[in-house]
Symmetry: C2
Subunit: 297 residues, 2 copies
């Protein structure tokens, strides 16, 4: 059984510490996640702002030698500094502390000083450990792109393939989900995009992946459900990753597996020069820690 802890162990054993810039870590929870990642040898931290809180935190005292502090007057300045460190190669990961997501994204997306190349697609990737599913499942997008275009889905396939291969999968099995397995261009134009993307993947244009869809959540993730419907799919009910029709479906899946299926979750923004960990207030320190690990993969 592959879990987020086994992911942490893999990264930890590799023995490479990534440099993570932590933006305005005024809250215990963010610092606790950072301390866990330092302890497991995954990162060295550069805290931007909040010197007093960091120096007063016993969890950080135990990490001495593996973190530094850079001054910042407020969250916005901290975001700008972290982004400039990523631009200059001084930080491999950015992690959000207690500033608004919008404020951090403004710095990331800034046309002059930001770290998103023109034409690059910024999207959210989740890695979920669902106890009833035998491997880590990657998801996109539960948080950022409302209704992905075909270009955005193409980028999502590329990012998911990249992460799945780093997780050791031979080929990334990527399901494009929908409420049914029928293509219905009139009511659901994106199902026609699915057909195009599937064909592109078959022609080898999308890299080391197998793409199929439309499939529903069950025919993507359950061989029995697939057989019961009399369907065949090269994914065979064993998807490594799901691309959802829209943010509403993605977010619903994410919230449902954490609320009712005991799932552990790691999440991050990809597409910028470095991965950005954007956990929300509701996430536990452990979940933020897992997100840091995923960013360090």
């Amino acid at each position: 059984m592959e879990t987020l802890d086994s992911l942490v162990k893999t990264i930890s054993e590799r023995g490479i510490r990534k440099k993570a810039a932590i933006v305005w870590a005024s809250d215990d929870c963010t610092r606790q996640a950072v301390a866990l990642a330092i302890k497991d040898g995954i990162i060295d931290a550069i805290f931007v702002g909040c010197r007093a809180e960091i120096e007063a935190d016993p969890a950080m005292a135990a990490c001495s030698g593996h973190y530094s502090i850079v001054e910042a007057a407020d969250g916005d300045e901290a975001a700008a500094i972290a982004v400039s460190m990523a631009r200059n190669g001084e930080a491999d990961i950015i992690m959000k502390g207690m500033i608004n997501t919008d404020n951090l994204l403004r710095a990331v997306l800034n046309k002059e000083h930001g770290i998103l190349d023109k034409g690059a697609v910024l999207t959210h990737i989740t890695a979920a450990h669902i106890p009833a599913y035998p491997k880590l499942l990657l998801l996109s997008d539960v948080a950022v792109i409302p209704y992905p275009t075909i270009d955005q889905r193409r980028a999502q396939i590329k990012y998911l393939t990249d992460i799945a291969c780093r997780l050791g999968r031979e080929k990334a099995l990527i399901a494009l989900t929908h409420c049914s397995e029928k293509v219905d261009e009139r009511h659901f134009p994106f199902t026609a995009d699915y057909v195009t993307l599937k064909a592109e993947a078959e022609e080898g244009k999308l890299g080391n992946c197998v793409v199929d869809g439309p499939l529903d959540v069950k025919t993507s993730l359950d061989a029995e459900a697939l057989a019961h419907k009399g369907l065949h799919s090269p994914i065979g009910g064993h998807a490594d990753a799901i691309i959802f029709p829209d943010i509403e479906a993605g977010n619903t899946f994410y919230k449902t597996i954490t609320l009712f299926a005991g799932a552990d979750i790691a999440g991050l923004l990809v597409g910028a020069k470095v991965p950005v960990v954007l956990s929300s207030r509701g996430d536990s320190a452990r979940s933020k820690f897992y997100s840091l690990a995923l960013a360090a993969l």
Copy 2:
């Protein structure tokens, strides 16, 4: 703990048998569901078509006195006959056997001979027993309306309120879900509809219900998640029913709770003159039986 079995018990104890027209029950699974519902005193069945299969089925032999058979040459004729029985008050429920959903719906929606009043909204309601949630949860719409208009959502609120009240809830607590709690008319125009519907419910225009939204799946169904986000809602994380932003989110929730959270499910179409049980090939006999019970509520 309220379950679908407790729902069955309630209906069973009431001692009223509804008349259910079963359209083309050529499969064991449909007949098995009907036999269970007859045995529990919930329905008497009128099978339309498939005499040979019914007479050869030992499960039906045990139900003698509680079913009859009406001849039909094929599934389409069976659908037309069942619909005309509902029109004439001879059937209180229609249940689909082995014919295509589209063919049954064509008979239901037929302008001359059908059973959907002009302007009425046909939508799908699910009742779910999720072991980790303390009561039956109603859902709309996981199967029929792709992107509900405000009028369609108003009808969904009415139907859900009606069923929740029959389940014995004092007032129906109905959550309108979205990926966040923010109203965002530009990217998600339906969130503005949510505000309108919430106001209408507060003014008492929508009947015996409390409506709130946008809420996400967690802040609808978990008091702790609501508190953690610092939010207040008259639903308090104890929703009786969820209305989803679109069919993709609804279907994703439905498939996820059945695949990963051990949920039992009953589902039916409402809005026509009688409820229509439309279970799909993938559903178990038990699930079809629960759907019959919900239709008989």
